[in-house]
Structure formats: structure tokens, C-alpha cells
């Protein structure tokens, strides 16, 4: 369990509406600091710059999907150890198992409740080793 409470979160998501909802949810309900990235292709440098404690990835994005971005992060030393949580509307059990074996910290299914999202993230954060 990490010593400090969860505070800085980076969210990679192409849908602007959901970006906004998540931002409001995390900032207003969760009192967290949020960095939202729209383009997955520049996500890694933005994450490096922002230095979040946890990264949230959308599953389906144009240009590069969440799992691919996740694998790329695993290959990048600066962000390799960041906990990653996927937000997805659909994923086969096989894909989920694969991501878990690669080290994904958790999965939140769409549609999520913005009221409960900060709590869900904190639960995943507390469950980390």
C-alpha cells in the first residue's frame, strides 16, 4: 500500500465529453489534480512531464488503442512503474487477463458513475503493493 494518498492523475481519453466529466468528477468529488491527454501518440511525453501517481487509459482510441499505449509505457523506463487503470466499455476476458499479467493495476467499466469514480480509483490505489 502506497504511503501517500492518491492525488495526481493523468487521463488519456479522446472523447472530450468524457474528459470533462472525469475531470469534474476527480477534481470536484475526489479533490485530485488531473491532467487530461487527448492524443495517445503524445501521451507518454505528457505523462513524463506531468509526473502523475496513477494513469488512466481509455481502451478504444483513434491512432493508438489503450493496450498498445500501455505496452509502450512498459517499454519506457520513466513511466514503466506507474500504476495503470483501464476504462473500457468492452474487453474480452482474455485481453483483460493478458493486461493483468502485464501489470495493469485495475479496470473500471464504462459506463462508470462519476460520483463513485474517485472512490473506485482510491480503492485500486490502496490495493497496490
Amino acid at each position: 500500500m502506497p504511503a501517500q494518498p492518491l492525488n495526481r492523475i493523468c487521463y488519456v481519453e479522446d472523447d472530450e465529453d468524457i474528459q470533462r466529466i472525469v475531470r469534474i468528477s476527480l477534481e470536484k468529488v475526489g479533490k485530485m489534480t488531473v491532467e487530461v491527454v487527448s492524443d495517445p501518440l503524445v501521451a507518454i511525453e505528457r505523462i513524463i512531464a506531468f509526473k502523475p501517481e496513477l494513469v488512466m487509459l481509455d481502451w478504444m482510441m483513434p491512432g493508438m488503442d489503450g493496450p498498445t499505449l500501455f505496452r509502450k509505457m512498459r517499454e519506457t523506463p520513466e513511466v514503466r512503474d506507474l500504476p495503470v487503470v483501464f476504462i473500457t466499455a468492452k474487453a474480452s476476458q482474455r485481453e483483460l487477463d493478458e493486461l493483468r499479467s502485464l501489470g495493469a493495476a485495475g479496470m473500471i467499466s464504462k459506463p462508470f458513475s462519476p460520483k463513485d469514480l474517485p472512490e473506485q480509483l482510491r480503492a485500486i490505489w490502496h490495493a497496490l503493493p
Binding site: 465529453d17 468524457i18 468528477s25 470536484k28 468492452k90 462508470f112 462519476p114
Partner: protein
């Protein structure tokens, strides 16, 4: 040609040799015995007549008593011989005792001969010359008669004649007359000639009887063979008719079959193709027959795999089923067919040919793909905007953005609730689709029932609050584990609890009770609602089942929930049902096996 015909002419025809050898010796012997006995009346008659003559001629001398005694012996012999003949005629076993009968006849013949011989030995010396001539003549005649009578067995003739001639020869030799001594020398020579003739006749008889029996046997064999052949011909004709009928049936099956049917030879060349095959591939049968099936029917990319499966079929003799392969039609259009290859194997385990059947699944695959695409679209494209809608409304309604006007809040609450309903419907439709297509995967694990119930109550309390209904457990939930999929069990509980809350009166209570049996756990969710209308009970677990459509509009619900619960519980080895609750209301229950 010449040499071969000479060669065959030099040897006795093997058929003849075999024919005579094939006669059963027992039958031949029996026939000879029969021949001998059939001559007995002549021998007996001749003995009586000759005996009577001799007695008459020889009486009136000093030996009169002796002559009569001799006559009595001849009569006694004749009686005994007649008795033997009668016994022979009455015998039951014609074949078996032939040798015994032959021996008896030999003894009789010896007795006959000796009785005459005795007459010669005893009377000859004291007879007149005339009488001596008479007796000699009689002996010659009696001996001669023996040849035809005993010809079927020369040894019998030999002992018969010896019985007559031996004592007579002795008498002649010791008589003291020069003439009689000469005769005594001639008689044995004559005897040997007689026996020689009897031997020849004996051989002729045996040969004749053998031929007769061999021929008879041949005729019998031939008749039996003929009958067997006739029977086999009838059976063969019947079999031919059956084969022809089943052949016609098979041909009809292939011809009218909606799937393509080919017959390949063991080299993989097309032997026959039915009309469906012609239609499917666009080739006339004439263009297909004789071609290598793999090259003609399958797209280049798949040919290697098809060849491998073909070889496997020859190795294992087992049919190949469900082989999906892309084929190129005559018009270059690509189609996907599902193939089955069935080897026709002979009783010697040799592959005779291979029946190849192909079903066009192109449209089916396209339909499956479209359905999957639709499901995927429904899943993603509908859920994503709903996430935004419901999420936004939730944030507004939660008050984190500040106070909102009461009327606005009422409307946004309605919007959130209906958004949620839409989402529930989508989720339910997706579940139904997964169940139908067999793609619903469950992840059963050992679950503590108490925790599951507590969690489901917590999840649904907010919903129940809207109807001012309390969710409670009836007493302590016993510590028991079930083997079930956690997420799906929460879905089942949510369904039952939300239904119970919806149909309970305001201020009512929904009660969850657990009962444990030996190997299963039963969970009941009881409401205090109006009960289930009689007309609805039958179809309550059917799809889109709603007792009263006005409820749907009032309280929400897709009408899919219970049918999904039923299928999921069944997949987990459980069942679901309901019963009326005493004092009003309904109890919905499900049973699941205990975790062992």
C-alpha cells in the same frame, strides 16, 4: 497341339480314375453280398434237386441207411441255408454288417461243398461203374453251378469247390485204378481253372459295382450342386435388386441434396458431382470430372491445408468434418464452404473413394459477422454517449457543482433515471445475445453467501429508497460458500431485489432469507406486493415478460431480467422459481449447489 493331345491320350483320364475311386467300398461290398444272397435260391434248389436224384440213384445197396442219413444232411443244410437267406432278407442294417453276412455265406458254401464231398468219399468205392459215372457227372455239374452262384466272391467259390473236389480227388487217387488216378490229377487242374474264372468274374463284379456307385454318387452330387446353385442364384438376384434399390436411393439423395456432393477417387480426382455442386461452383459436371479436386475447388492459399487433411484422412480412415475453406467459383467469386470428407473403406480397410460434401456458409458467416459488428456497435457506440449523459446528470444531481433549482433537479433526475433504464436495456440485450450465441462465459469461484447478500443489499439500497422500501435479511445469514460467478450473482440478486422493491407498497419490506439443505443453498427474496397475476405465471421467465405494461412505464424494467437470471443460474448448476407468500406477496427463490 499334337504333342499335347498325345500326352493326354497316353494317360487314363483322371476323371475316370477319380470316379471309380470315389465309390464308397462299403456300398460296393454290400452290393456284392446282395448279389451272392440273391443267387442262394438257385444254389439251394440245385442242392435239393441234385440231392434227391443222388439219394434215389444210390439207395438199395448195403449203404441204404447211410444214403438216407446223407440225404437228411442235404435237407438239413438246405433248411439252414434257407433260414440264413430269410435272416438276410429281414436284416435291418443294409450296409453295416455286410462282412458278417459274407462270412456266414462262406460257412454255408463250405458246408454245402463238404456235404457233397462227403458223399463222394463215403459212397464212391462201393458204387457200380454206372453209379460212379453218375456221381462224377453230378460233381462236375454241382461245381460248375458254383461259378455263377458265387462269382461275386471268388474265395467263397474256392472253398465251396474245394469242399466238393478235395475228398473226391483223394478217393480217386487212392482207388487203385489207372484211369481214376489220371482223373485225380486232372481234377485239381480243373479246380484251378474254375477258381481262375471265378476270380475274373469277381473282378468284373467289383469293377461294375464300383462304377455304379461312383455314378450314383456323381448324380447325387450333381443334383445337390444344382439345388445349391439355384438357391444361390435366387439370393444373388435378391441382393442385386437390393443393391440396385439402395444405389438408386443414394443417387437420388445426392442429386436432390441442397449441398454439393462429390466423389473423389483415391488420387483426389473428381469422379462425380451432383447438381448442387454444379450450381455452387458454376462448373458443369463434365468440366469437374477427372480434375484434381483440391486444385479445382479450393483457393490457392488453403490447398496445402486441404492436402494435409486429405493425407490425414488416408492415415486414420476417419472422416474430416467441419473443414472451413475458401473456394473460387468459375466466375472468380470467392465463397466459403464447410466441408466434410468421408472415406468409403472396404472390408479389407482399403479406401475405395472419398465422399466430399460442401455447404456454402458464406452468407451465414457474413450474417454472423454483421451480428457481431452490431453487438459491438451497440456495446461501444451506445454505451459511450450514455456514459456522458448519465455521468453528467449524476454530477449535477449529486450537488457537487452547487445548488440547483428544484424544478431543474426534478427534470435532471428524471433524465438520469431514464438514461439508466436505457443502459439497463442495452446491458440486458447484450446479455441475452451472449447467452443465445453461447458466448457468455462464467467465472465461478467459492463465494461466501453472507458477503454476497450484504454487498447486493448495499448496492440496491439506493434504488429501494426511491420506492421507500426497506431491504433486510431474515435473521443471521449462515456461514456457507457457494460455487458461482460473483459478478453474475450480484446481477441476479440486483434483479430480484429491484423487482421486489418495485412491487412492494411504500413503507414495505423486502426480506432475504437463506435455507440450507444437504448439498444446496436456497435464497429467497420476499416482497409484500400484490402477487403475480395468474395469467402471467406461465411466461414470467420468458423474454420481454411484463405483467402489466403500465408498470414498465411507471417503475422501469426491461422484462428481460428474470429470463437472464434463469439462464445464468442454470449455467451455474442452479434453478429459479417463485411461490406465493402467506399473508400476501411473492417469494422469488434460487437454488445453487454448495461449494464442496
Amino acid at each position: 497341339m499334337n504333342s499335347s493331345s498325345t500326352a493326354s491320350g497316353r494317360h487314363a483320364s483322371p476323371a475316370n480314375v477319380d470316379l471309380r475311386q470315389s465309390a464308397d467300398p462299403r456300398y460296393v461290398l454290400a452290393d456284392r453280398v446282395e448279389q451272392l444272397y440273391s443267387q442262394m435260391p438257385i444254389a439251394i434248389g440245385a442242392t435239393i434237386v441234385a440231392g434227391a436224384f443222388a439219394t434215389w440213384e444210390l439207395q438199395g445197396r448195403w449203404l441204404t441207411e447211410l444214403v438216407f442219413i446223407w440225404g437228411a444232411i442235404v435237407i438239413a443244410y438246405s433248411g439252414a441255408a434257407t433260414a440264413l437267406l430269410i435272416a438276410y432278407r429281414r436284416r435291418s442294417d443294409v450296409i453295416g454288417n455286410a462282412e458278417q453276412w459274407l462270412r456266414s455265406l462262406g460257412i454255408a458254401a463250405l458246408a454245402n461243398g463238404v456235404s457233397w464231398g462227403l458223399a463222394g468219399a463215403v459212397f464212391f468205392r462201393s458204387l457200380t461203374e454206372e453209379q460212379q459215372v453218375f456221381l462224377s457227372f453230378l460233381f462236375a455239374g454241382i461245381t460248375s453251378i458254383g461259378i455263377p452262384v458265387y462269382a461275386a466272391s471268388w474265395p467263397i467259390f474256392a472253398i465251396y469247390a474245394a469242399g466238393i473236389l478235395l475228398p473226391f480227388t483223394y478217393t480217386l487217387a487212392t482207388f487203385g485204378s489207372r484211369l481214376f488216378l489220371d482223373i485225380a490229377v486232372l481234377v485239381p487242374a480243373l479246380y484251378l481253372v474254375y477258381v481262375g474264372i471265378a476270380y475274373r468274374l469277381h473282378q468284373v463284379f467289383i469293377s461294375g459295382y464300383r462304377l455304379r456307385h461312383a455314378y450314383g454318387k456323381l448324380t447325387d452330387d450333381y443334383t445337390a450342386l444344382n439345388q445349391r446353385l439355384e438357391q444361390q442364384l435366387v439370393e444373388l438376384e435378391e441382393a442385386r435388386r437390393q443393391v440396385e434399390a439402395s444405389g438408386r436411393k443414394l443417387a437420388l439423395f445426392a442429386e436432390r441434396s441442397p449441398i454439393a456432393v462429390f466423389e473423389f477417387d483415391v488420387e483426389g480426382r473428381i469422379q462425380t458431382a451432383n447438381p448442387s455442386a454444379e450450381t455452387l461452383f458454376g462448373f458443369a459436371a463434365g468440366e469437374l470430372i477427372g480434375q484434381t479436386g483440391t486444385d479445382k475447388l479450393f483457393a490457392t492459399a488453403i490447398r496445402d491445408e486441404v492436402r494435409e487433411r486429405w493425407r490425414e484422412l488416408f492415415r486414420s480412415r476417419a472422416p474430416v468434418i467441419g473443414l472451413r475453406a475458401i473456394s473460387t467459383r468459375r466466375d472468380d467469386a470467392e465463397i466459403t464452404c464447410e466441408w466434410s470428407l468421408t472415406p468409403l473403406v472396404s472390408p479389407e480397410n482399403r479406401v475405395i473413394s472419398v465422399i466430399v460434401q460442401g455447404r456454402d456458409v458464406t452468407q451465414q458467416l457474413e450474417a454472423e459477422r454483421m451480428k457481431q459488428e452490431f453487438t459491438s456497435t451497440l456495446s461501444h457506440e451506445l454505451r459511450t454517449p450514455l456514459t456522458s449523459i448519465i455521468g453528467s446528470l449524476q454530477l449535477i444531481n449529486s450537488g457537487v457543482l452547487g445548488d440547483i433549482d428544484k424544478d431543474v433537479l426534478e427534470l435532471t433526475t428524471i433524465a438520469e433515471r431514464n438514461g439508466q433504464r436505457l443502459l439497463d436495456l442495452i446491458n440486458d440485450i447484450l446479455d441475452v445475445e451472449k447467452i443465445e450465441s453461447g458466448k457468455l462465459t462464467l467465472f465461478p469461484e467459492a463465494l461466501a453467501l453472507g458477503e454476497l447478500i450484504a454487498e447486493s443489499l448495499a448496492l440496491n439500497r439506493g434504488f429501494a429508497d426511491r420506492f421507500k422500501v426497506r431491504l433486510v435479511t431474515a435473521g443471521e445469514v449462515p456461514a456457507v460458500t457457494i460455487n458461482a460467478d460473483r459478478k453474475r450473482m450480484l446481477q441476479v440478486m440486483t434483479n430480484l431485489l429491484s423487482n421486489a422493491a418495485k412491487f412492494s407498497p411504500e413503507g414495505g419490506t423486502v426480506e432475504v432469507a437463506v435455507a440450507i439443505t444437504d448439498d444446496s443453498v436456497r435464497v429467497g427474496v420476499s416482497d409484500s406486493g400484490p402477487g403475480i397475476p395468474e395469467s402471467f405465471r406461465e411466461r414470467i421467465f420468458g423474454r420481454f415478460a411484463q405483467a402489466d405494461m403500465s408498470h414498465t412505464r411507471q417503475k422501469g424494467g426491461t422484462g428481460l431480467g428474470l429470463s437472464i437470471c434463469k439462464r445464468m443460474l442454470e449455467m451455474m448448476g442452479g434453478k429459479i422459481g417463485f411461490s406465493d407468500r402467506t399473508g400476501g406477496g411473492t417469494t422469488f427463490w434460487f437454488e445453487l449447489p454448495k461449494h464442496s
